[in-house]
């Protein structure tokens, strides 16, 4: 029997049991759909987060507390305000390319409106280094930072929440018991699903923030290299400047690319874990196919006996049932893929979670669904092929 003939016979049998075929396919369909969708979400998260890091602008160096092992979680910072100066002065070709910050959460309020903001205490170069621009008013000045003046720059959302429909410049916001005069509002960055909402920040001079938080800590220092080629020189300069004061394991200098690499790797692993979890449902779908194929073989025992009496070889019968199994899972794969892509588009459009369908998840879903059909179809198909024609024909 030709392959085409086997396929035709298999489709004929599936059509004869439409509902059952559909339900069996559903198991595989759900499996493929979840693989495609979860992988899309995992990939979406990966590109969004790495995108957010890239969004800080290119050629950035991060001077971070600890020995640079991200797996160990956040590490206690030993940086103080002088270290920012120390790094900045060490950089070749002029000052003003290093900025430091301290971060904290504080309730902010103004004229009866309040919310919990991310408070950034920054040095005057910070906005330039991370590539943020002022929409209205002005930035924090060197003297603001030097004197710990009580002035604030608001993120776009912060400004809207505290002063709806009003111009916040010149008005006052309170962080705890302390009042700050608003001098500027930042350009909107836009929402991201992961990480802090940068539009809900309140920025104040780092000296004022240290007083507010009751600490002399500096959380991190950022350096903007003048070009890609300058990164290594800057890294060396920052390292040796800090090494004068700190132990080697108290700080590390990493580039943006390195962070993107590490974070990207972690999220790639997360994607694979999601794919594996979704793969389990595909496996369950496969078991369902196996089960139904066994039922089908037993129901059609007489048909198998008859086909053998009429000249079917063992392999003709085996192939027929294998094709049936693969047709079931293949159909589930195609429809599941289509729905998975659709669901990913919906998620991307309406949910705050990004989703990105990748070609490899498509290939994987289709390949695996066909493979599932083969693997889980083999047992029933072999059982069918090996039936003894006389016994099969006598079967009731």
């Amino acid at each position: 029997m030709s392959l085409r003939e086997s396929l035709r016979v298999a489709m004929q049998a599936l059509r004869a049991n439409r509902l059952r075929s559909a339900l069996t396919t559903l198991g595989v369909l759900i499996g493929v759909l979840s693989v495609v969708l979860l992988v899309a979400i995992g990939q979406g998260a990966r590109s969004e987060i790495t995108g957010a890091i890239e969004g800080l602008g290119s050629n950035l160096l991060f001077v971070l507390p600890g020995d640079g092992d991200f797996g160990g979680g956040p590490q206690r910072s030993s940086f103080v305000a002088d270290d920012i100066e120390r790094v900045d002065r060490s950089l070749p070709g002029g000052e003003g390319r290093a900025a430091g910050y301290v971060i904290g959460a504080e309730a902010v309020q103004a004229e009866g409106n309040r919310f919990n903001a991310t408070v950034f205490g920054i040095t005057e170069n910070y906005l330039g280094v991370v590539d943020r621009t002022i929409a209205r008013g002005q930035s924090l000045s060197r003297s603001d930072v030097a004197t710990g003046r009580r002035v604030a720059v608001l993120g776009a959302s912060s400004a809207e929440t505290l002063f709806p429909g009003q111009d916040p410049i010149g008005r006052t916001v309170s962080l705890g018991a302390i009042r700050y005069r608003v001098v500027g509002v930042l350009e909107r960055v836009g929402t991201t699903a992961f990480g802090p909402d940068v539009d809900r920040q309140v920025l104040i001079p780092i000296s004022a923030a240290q007083r507010l938080f009751g600490s002399t800590r500096v959380d991190a220092i950022f350096v903007r290299a003048e070009s890609t080629v300058g990164i290594e020189a800057d890294r060396e300069a920052a390292r040796s400047a800090l090494a004068e004061r700190l132990e080697e394991d108290e700080f590390s200098v990493v580039s943006q690319d390195e962070i993107i690499g590490v974070v990207g790797d972690i999220l790639q692993i997360l994607t694979w874990v999601l794919a594996a979890i979704a793969g389990i449902s595909l496996l369950v779908g496969g078991v369902g196919v196996s089960n139904i194929m066994l039922v089908s073989v037993s129901e059609r025992t007489r048909e198998i006996g008859l086909r053998k009496a009429l000249g079917a070889r063992t392999r003709d019968i085996t192939r027929q049932f294998l094709f049936e199994a693969v047709a079931l899972t293949g159909l589930g794969g195609v429809v599941g893929l289509a729905l998975g892509i659709g669901a990913a588009e919906l998620v991307a459009a309406f949910a705050p979670v990004p989703a990105e369908v990748t070609w490899w998840s498509i290939a994987l879903a289709l390949g695996v669904s066909v493979l599932v059909g083969l693997v889980f179809g083999v047992l029933p198909a072999r059982r069918a092929g090996q039936l003894d024609p006389v016994t099969a024909l006598r079967h009731e």
């Binding site: 008859l306 053998k308 009496a309 009429l310 000249g311 070889r313 003894d388 006389v390 024909l393």
Partner: protein, 238 residues
């Protein structure tokens, strides 16, 4: 058929040589369905097999049709032992040389009469068009030209058996094996079916081995073999 080998060509269509068949049901539970049966069927012969229920008739027919292998002894087609054939050879033999007609018709209920008749042609290389033409011709020959799109459930018992006969003859086999082909039919319809089988045998020169209960049917055969307890007790040439 095996034209290169004159010795084989001279052999009878089919020989059974001291054939036994033992069904093992349990450790100490063996059924000796056939206890040493020998006979030959020549090309174009008409043989009736009679005997009471349980005497081993169906067992014998299954062995003759290469659906089963004897416990001992030999079944040979054109001198070639079925025991030596592999799965593919057996399939080719059943497909090319043998046509089965069963008591219970054995039609596939979800297929039309035409597709049921096409079934054996699926296992040989021919174009779909050629298959349809041959199957249609076979259905015409059994008088069902106007029923080709009906499914078995929409046909009477006699019509279903006609479809089954069309399926058996569509491959133009050298041998028709019929196991109580009229057993599920009323007397008149049964006679029509037997007449049809005998016509095919006569017109096409197809050898016909038929198991039957009816004395008149058996009487019309050229040879009558009676089985009792798995042995041939009488073999009468008419």
């Amino acid at each position: 058929m095996s034209g290169q080998d004159p010795a084989v060509d001279d052999a009878p269509l089919l020989t059974a040589d001291d054939v036994t068949r033992v069904y093992t049901l349990g450790r100490d539970n063996e059924v000796h369905a056939l206890r040493g049966v020998s006979f030959t069927v020549d090309r174009g012969e008409h043989v009736a097999i009679v005997g009471s229920s349980g005497s081993g008739k169906s067992t014998l027919l299954n062995l003759l049709g290469a659906l089963d292998r004897p416990t001992s002894g030999h079944v040979r087609y054109h001198g070639r032992d079925v025991r030596d054939m592999d799965d593919a050879e057996l399939a080719r033999l059943r497909n090319g040389s043998i046509g089965f007609v069963f008591q219970s018709f054995q039609l596939l209920p979800r297929l039309t009469a035409l597709d049921n008749v096409i079934l054996p042609l699926v296992y040989r290389s021919s174009s779909p068009r050629e298959r349809r033409e041959r199957a249609t011709a076979a259905l015409e020959q059994v008088g069902l030209a106007d029923r080709i799109t009906h499914r078995p459930g929409e046909l009477s018992g006699g019509q279903q058996q006609r479809v089954a006969i069309a399926r058996a003859l569509v491959t133009e086999p050298a041998l028709l094996l019929a196991d109580e082909p009229t057993g599920n039919l009323d007397t008149r319809t049964g006679e029509e079916i037997m007449t049809l089988l005998e016509e095919l045998h006569r017109d096409r020169g197809t050898a016909l081995v038929v198991i039957t209960h009816e004395a008149e049917v058996a009487a019309r055969a050229a040879r009558r073999i009676e089985l009792r307890d798995g042995r041939i007790v009488t073999e009468v040439a008419a």
